[in-house]
Amino acid sequence: MDVRKVYGRDDRAVVALDSVSAALSLGSFTAIMGPSGSGKSTFLNVAAGLDRPTSGSVVLGDTSLEQLSERQLTILRRERVGFIFQAFNLLPSLTVAQNIALPLRLGGHRPRRLAVREIAARVGLENRLRDRPAQLSGGQQQRVAIARALITRPEVVFADEPTGALDTRTGHEVLSLLREVVNQDRHTVVMVTHDPVAAAYADRVMLLADGRVAGTLDAPSADEVARRLAHLGA
């Protein structure tokens, strides 16, 4: 992708992303890092088709997103993209199983019980299928969210601060799970975080500052990430 994103108009415009180019390869785990206001979230929203770039293009596989209507974008998000949010964003009225199967149902598919059970087992929640989100711990809720993101076997999974609301230990569990789905199931994960420790789980870290790419690190350690981040004035 190669995009520019401007909020507002004329002299009061705020440039959130300025000529950011990035290519994310299949089966990789990429972390996006940067200080507050560096454009991390805008990057994620634009890349995921939640928001449209002011100029430039976002290509997913062989589909160019800017040509799609709002409805086509929704369907693309549903079928080819998965989401994991900081606040777990489960529907409180649905059970764990129903939450996981929601994207399938929205796509007009009858959710197969076996598929749901399988994916729930993948995230270690096969025994909690009939519970409601309110009965789960934060870590468990985030694992439901991961299962929901993976159920459609999306081409890319976007995670926005997935450990932001979790303690260190459950955060570690969630990150290990993401690492596992990349390694074993060949999923592609893009994760926004400001935690160097979380970023260290990724294959690659992309650093953003003032809406521009300020560098990339391959297979970094947490210390290395922290040092580079400090340089950016975070």
Partner: protein, 820 residues
């Protein structure tokens, strides 16, 4: 805390808008009805005709032991008492007065004996006092020597105006004319009795001596004298007080309900904020007091704003009450700070009561809630809801049992309304169970029908049962109360006119445009060629008797026994014996006193006279013809006027020809009207102003109120879900799918709300219908039913879909960031 509450209330006017409007409406209504109540309590019958006497002596107008029941017919005193009172030291004169309703020319007047002119006093300004039966003095400007037709209790005859008298004290409620004392007494038809005795004082008058001399008669002095002048006004007052109290009370109940639900919901919406305050170390007590102060501020503002519009509405209401004949013509509004204070105080009290429960729960919100995400829906039913619901049901069940077993409409009608109120309260408490049950029941079908929208709507309904219950409750309230009250009255009305229609099989009916028809009109009608038979019906009342201890009993005087095509549904005995001291009883009264044909029953006549009557018949159509039919001889002299209301005619020749001949009787009886018996039914129905006008008015009132609750509740609920809707869209739901879900939810809310509302209406009305007609067919005109259900449904649909549409207009990424 007050400061914090004020800042908080100002900052979230949006949240309080619903409660504010509800409190405003509550204040408007309670002010308007409070004014009426205050006015009725303060309205005295005016003192006009009896302005001269220091005391007015009448018969005892009240009867009954512990319950003071105001009698429906005038209680008179012996004419001989006047002489005894005149002998009391300090009494200058004691003058008996009779009032005879009459027509002089085309003016409706009240005729009196000339000696009673001194009571106002009327003084001659021209001419001389009447000296013979053909002479009259007009109490208003008239030309001397004019010859006019006088119609009173006899066939009309021509009289000459020999004098004109002017009152020294303004008299507005009647146009008085004066005949000779002998003539007035003869026309009044109750020799030996007078309506009232006016006592003119001389120096040394002592009211206690007068009372001693009056014996069992009633001595009225000061403002109370008006009651002796127009007992019917006092009677109107006793009708108006319970009507006003019932309407005002129900208005307050609905207001409390609506205010409670809007305020409760606004607190529920803020749970997260409250949790945050708890997290920064606000004590539960501080939370409670903040909520209470907020409610008090909102209530004070809303109620105070409602006072002035309330006064405006109250004035319009008073005008309408008079115009529709529910309030007496002299009804005047008296209101002051008392009504206003009651309206504002009531509003604040209702608001505080409403937030009491909600505030307790809010104060218990754990601080950690601020930090968690998935809003935990509360349990299906908390102990408070279970207890409240059970208490309301415990109230409803015995009422239902009473109304289901009684066959007496007078018991069934009020119990059905109170039953409905209890059931609405129970439905409000136990609503989550209904939501849950419906969700479980409909989920498979709806999911098959609409795999996304229907499925999500059912899942939400089953999980967020309380939210859905808050949404359905105002709909239940609206449908159940307006249905019960309105269709209750249409059912009674329908059954009544049905009975009349079946009973009136004669071809023609004679009525009067004036005060009524003299007794001779019946004989004249019978003598008219082509009339096979004719009977006369006259409405009257009995005092408390026949198993009714605390109210007057509706009755009719039937002159002429069987005939006239009148079929009251006699199931035992015969109307041919309805002479002398005979009485025929309606089925319900007969059951109540275990009457049998030929047996004697104790009867209190309309003027309070206690007597015994022989039961000659028992009949079924007591809705149309009252609880008892009296022989004319039994009632004679115990009515305010001896005039007949209507004469029912059965012809043996073509009705049009007979009608023409009967109309010719008009020269003897001015104001006489001839119509068919169907027109009589219509006229009777049209006269039932209480049902015709107040019923729809009341339904409109309920509707305005519940609309506020419906709109407010549903909009708040929809707003609260912005984030949830955004989340759905981020998960891949299209705007159309979200809208479909919202539509299904709205449908479920409407179906549940209207369904429970209708079920309550049916539960309340079926026993009433059974008591009235023996069948289970409440009469609900389709148009009105459709209007009540349709407008409720439409209201809910708009209230639910507009906010969803607006929520969908914001981009999901932005919406997801906003916390509810």
């Amino acid at each position: 805390m007050l400061r914090l509450a004020a800042v908080s209330a100002r900052g979230r006017l949006g949240t309080f808008t619903g409660a504010l409007i509800a409190l405003f409406a509550a204040a408007v209504l309670s002010m308007a009805w409070g004014m009426q109540l205050e006015s009725i309590l303060r309205t005295h019958s005016p003192i006009e005709r009896y302005a001269g006497p220091v005391a007015v002596v009448t018969g005892q107008q009240e009867a009954g032991g512990s319950h003071r029941v105001l009698l429906g017919e005038r209680a008179r005193v012996s004419a001989g008492l006047a002489a005894r009172l005149a002998a009391v030291p300090g009494v200058q004169a004691a003058i008996g007065d009779v009032s005879v309703p009459a027509l002089l020319g085309d003016r409706t007047v009240v005729a009196h004996g000339w000696s009673s002119a001194a009571l106002t006093p009327y003084v001659l300004t021209a001419g001389r006092p009447p000296a013979g039966p053909g002479e009259v003095v007009a109490g208003y400007p008239a030309a001397l020597g004019t010859r006019l037709l006088l119609a009173a209790t006899e066939p009309a005859r021509t009289v000459t105006v020999v004098g004109v008298a002017r009152p020294r004290h303004p008299v507005s409620a009647q146009a008085a004319i004066f005949l000779t004392d002998a003539e007035a007494t003869r026309l009044a038809g109750h020799p030996g009795l007078v309506d009232a005795i006016g006592v003119l004082a001389a120096p040394g008058f002592d009211v206690s001596r007068l009372r001693a001399a009056a014996g069992g008669a009633q001595v009225l002095t000061g403002n109370a004298r008006g009651a002796g002048e127009y007992p019917e006004l006092a009677r109107a007052r006793t009708v108006l007080i319970p009507v006003t109290a019932a309407f005002g009370g129900l208005a307050m109940f609905i207001a409390l309900f609506v205010v409670a639900s809007t305020l409760g919901l606004s607190i529920q919406q803020r749970e997260r904020e409250i949790a945050l305050m708890r997290a920064v170390a606000a004590t539960p007590g501080q939370i409670r007091s903040m909520i209470a102060w907020e409610a008090a501020i909102v209530a004070l503002a809303g109620s105070a704003a409602g006072i002035w519009p309330g006064i405006v509405l109250g004035r319009a209401l008073a005008d309408a009450l008079v115009r529709h004949g529910i309030a007496p013509p002299n009804y005047a509004l008296h209101y002051d700070w008392l009504s206003a204070a009651a309206a504002i105080g009531g509003g604040v009290a209702a608001a505080l009561l409403a937030v009491l429960a909600a505030g307790r729960r809010a104060a218990r919100v754990p601080p950690t809630l601020a930090l968690t995400d998935a809003t935990a829906e509360p349990r299906l039913l908390g102990p408070g809801r279970v207890i409240g619901g059970l208490i309301a049901l415990a109230g409803a069940v015995p009422l239902f049992a009473v109304s289901a077993t009684t066959t007496d409409p007078q018991t069934a009608a009020p119990t059905s309304e109170i039953d409905a109120i209890f059931l609405v309260v129970a439905a409000a408490f136990l609503g989550p169970v209904a939501a849950y049950a419906v969700a479980r029941l409909l989920a498979p079908a709806l999911t098959a029908l609409s795999p996304v929208g229907g499925f999500l709507a059912c899942a939400n309904l089953g999980a967020a049962t309380r939210r859905f219950s808050s949404a359905t409750t105002p709909l239940v309230l609206s449908v159940a109360l307006s249905g019960t009250i309105f269709f209750g009255s249409t059912t009674i009305e329908h059954a009544t006119s049905q009975q009349q229609r079946t009973a009136l099989t004669g071809q023609l009916a004679i009525t009067s445009a004036g005060p009524g028809l003299p007794g001779t009109a019946l004989a004249d009608a019978r003598a008219t060629p082509g009339v096979r038979s004719a009977v006369a019906l006259t409405s009257t009342t009995l005092g408390p008797c026949l198993g009714v201890p605390n109210n007057i009993v509706s009755a009719q005087i039937l002159t002429g026994g069987p005939g006239g095509g009148l079929d009251v549904g006699v199931i035992a005995g015969s109307l041919s014996g309805l002479h002398g001291d005979a009485i025929a009883l309606g089925r319900h009264r007969a059951d109540a006193v275990h009457a049998r044909i030929g047996g004697r029953v104790a009867v209190t006549l309309g003027d309070g006279t206690q007597t015994q009557a022989t039961v000659v018949a028992i009949y079924t159509r007591d809705l149309a013809f009252g609880d008892a039919l009296l022989a004319p001889e039994l009632a004679s002299g115990h009515q305010t006027t001896p005039l007949l209301n209507e004469i029912l005619i059965q012809t043996d020749q073509p009705a049009t020809g007979v009608a023409g001949r009967l109309r010719a009787l008009g020269h003897r009886y001015p104001g006489l009207q001839v119509g068919d018996s169907a027109s009589l039914v219509t006229a009777n129905a049209a006269n039932d102003e209480l049902n015709n006008w107040l019923g729809p008015f009341f339904v409109a009132m309920i509707f305005t109120f519940t609309s506020i609750a419906v709109l407010n509740t549903l909009i708040m609920i929809a707003l609260r879900r912005r984030r949830e809707l955004a989340l759905l869209r981020l998960t891949g739901a299209t705007a159309g799918q979200v809208r479909a879900m919202a539509r299904w939810e709205a449908t479920l809310i409407i179906v549940i709300g209207l369904g429970i509302g209708l079920a309550i209406t049916a539960t309340a009305l079926l026993p009433l219908s059974h008591a009235l007609t023996g069948g289970l067919r409440p009469y609900a005109p389709a148009g009105w039913l459709a209007a009540i259900l349709g407008s409720s449904a439409l209201l809910a649909l708009v209230a639910l879909s507009v906010p969803t549409r607006r929520a969908l207009r914001t981009r999901p990424v932005e919406a997801i960031g906003t916390r509810e």
